[in-house]
Symmetry: C2
Subunit: 339 residues, 2 copies
């Protein structure tokens, strides 16, 4: 069996190109005891992958040079020398940009997930609204922000895979939702499709004035997907005892020199704010609760979402750039091969 | 009655001098209905006063030009046209750098505190270890950091009024305490007098290496009194799910241009850290609990502290600078006049 793979050959500065990620075709290695062979069907493309390419401490070790680019995938076990998995199992785990992944079936201390019930929903949903992005939105809202009725909740990158679900869950909880996005077209979509109460284009408006107009009583809760200047502006608009869920800093992923943090950190003290970082790994024991709630809301039509599925493994590297130039429409996923 | 006063005449850039704060002597104004006249005995000098001199949003309005410099004072009510207070009451509240303060008896929505019980301790303790600095340390440790036995707790500006009490309360709770301070002499005092497990001089050591050596299992909790580079270095050394109490940013109070926030904010996300700002006003309903615990520890000799009392109102402006050049030895307080 030939395995098409994208290997990290050199650490990128900024966006990775063919210089840094090398396409190869090579035979699949024979399984050792304890290993399973997964035929990948879907590959999740996420901004976090860019961070794993750097040689810096993170919640996962950097991708080793020569290894396939790491990504969450969904695939089918096609061979198993591990008693915990059998051929035919549908698994979700950290594998790579490749047709076939050989795995121990573990990610760190955690066993790879086996999808037992698809709730009648398409498989690729487990990489988006029922996967890391949906789970991130779910726990960020349910556990970190905990909106009360009529609280003003702002989310940045609101038209993105996480942000759009954040807004919809917050709405279900009764919050007043304000989405920030990077184009008029995205803002339009926030209110018309995703049900946000208002939307602000941070490229064309005076952001501070626009936030003050949209939140006359101040901002209670902020779901931060971007960091940088926008976090700074929000810090100035937060109410006392406000909470900020720190989810991502897309403004910094491709920076080639250190990016200063918010200038307005003093506001954290004088307003008794709480900034809380989180990762879905923190909530592994509550995934079942999240799947059920999300699937229920999806089947009831309370959550709309968009998957941007690109067909063909060979397009993975080029497609990855879409995450950083705003080119993707919804959660970006590679369908490894046409059915 | 002549009232010696220091009035804010111009907003300072950097440290205030006689150009910005004008000394005057003028008669005390007659009381209106609802007002009380306080003869100040002690004036608390705190870094926060510098922030109130700027025309920027904060937890209190900026000091108006022409008003006395705002400060917490302890004094005696000498005349009252307010039924809530009577002559002879010992009061603690936000007044000014002056002999006599006229007040409504309220600070915002809160009634000025009346000291009913001194627990047999000197009056000036209510500006230090039983006052804002002790209360800040108490709630920062008890409520924000909540150390568990053997957790590694780092505090910056550890030889200062807040930091030294933070370390001692954390020690009572069983934490392993590491103090950061700006001189060898202060570091010596941290371990020998205040009982810290270890001390690091951030001026003469490689801070990152020194923290790693002092905390081989990483840093669980950080009480941040300084912000800036030191916060940045701590972010790199925090353990997953670490908590940071954001108390002050003395590195920024006298900055004349915007100071960037921490470069390592990304660590907040990948380590699921919580940064929580707080002010003692958040805990007004728990002051009684704090007074009792602190007085108990003081009377049992479990908390040592240092008051740096300067005698003479006329020395207030010059003494204020000590806070920013490391010249004070313990909590800086003005005793308004010699007994």
């Amino acid at each position: 069996m030939l395995n098409r793979r994208f290997l990290l050959s050199q650490r990128p500065q900024g966006l990775p190109t063919e210089e840094h990620v090398t396409y190869t075709e090579e035979p699949v290695k024979a399984l050792k005891d304890g290993e399973i062979l997964i035929k990948n069907d879907f590959i999740s493309l996420d901004p976090a992958i860019r961070g794993w390419m750097d040689d810096v401490p993170s919640y996962l070790p950097p991708i080793a040079l020569g290894d396939p680019v790491r990504a969450t995938t969904i695939g089918k076990v096609v061979d198993s020398k591990n008693s915990e998995f059998k051929a035919g199992d549908l698994v979700l785990g950290l594998n790579g940009w490749e047709d076939y992944s050989v795995s121990t079936g573990f990610v760190g201390p955690n066993k790879m997930g086996v999808i037992e019930d698809t709730f009648g929903l398409p498989l690729e949903y487990f990489l988006s609204v029922l996967g890391p992005t949906g789970l991130t939105a779910y726990f960020g809202v349910e556990d970190i922000l905990r909106p009360k009725k009529d609280q003003a909740l702002v989310v940045s990158a609101a038209a993105g895979a996480v942000g759009s679900i954040v807004g919809q869950i917050a709405k279900i909880k009764g919050a007043k939702t304000i989405g920030l996005a990077g184009s008029e077209e995205k803002c339009q979509r926030l209110t018309s499709r995703f049900g946000f109460d208002s939307a602000i284009n941070y490229h064309t408006n005076n952001l501070d004035a626009a936030i003050k107009e949209a939140t006359p009583n101040g901002v209670d809760l902020y779901f931060d997907n971007v960091g940088g200047d926008i976090l700074d502006t929000l810090l100035l608009n937060m109410n006392d005892f406000g909470r900020i869920a720190m989810c991502g800093m897309i403004s910094q992923y491709n920076a080639t020199e250190p990016v200063p943090g918010p200038y307005n950190m003093w506001q954290v003290v004088v307003k008794s704010l709480t900034l809380q970082g989180f990762l879905i790994r923190d909530y592994a024991d509550r995934f079942g609760e999240a799947f059920e709630s999300l699937a229920h809301w999806l089947n009831d039509g309370l959550i709309k979402h968009e998957d941007h599925v690109v067909v063909g493994l060979e397009k993975t590297l080029d497609s990855f750039a879409l995450l950083f130039n705003g080119g993707n429409q919804g959660k970006l996923t590679i369908k490894v091969r046409q059915d």
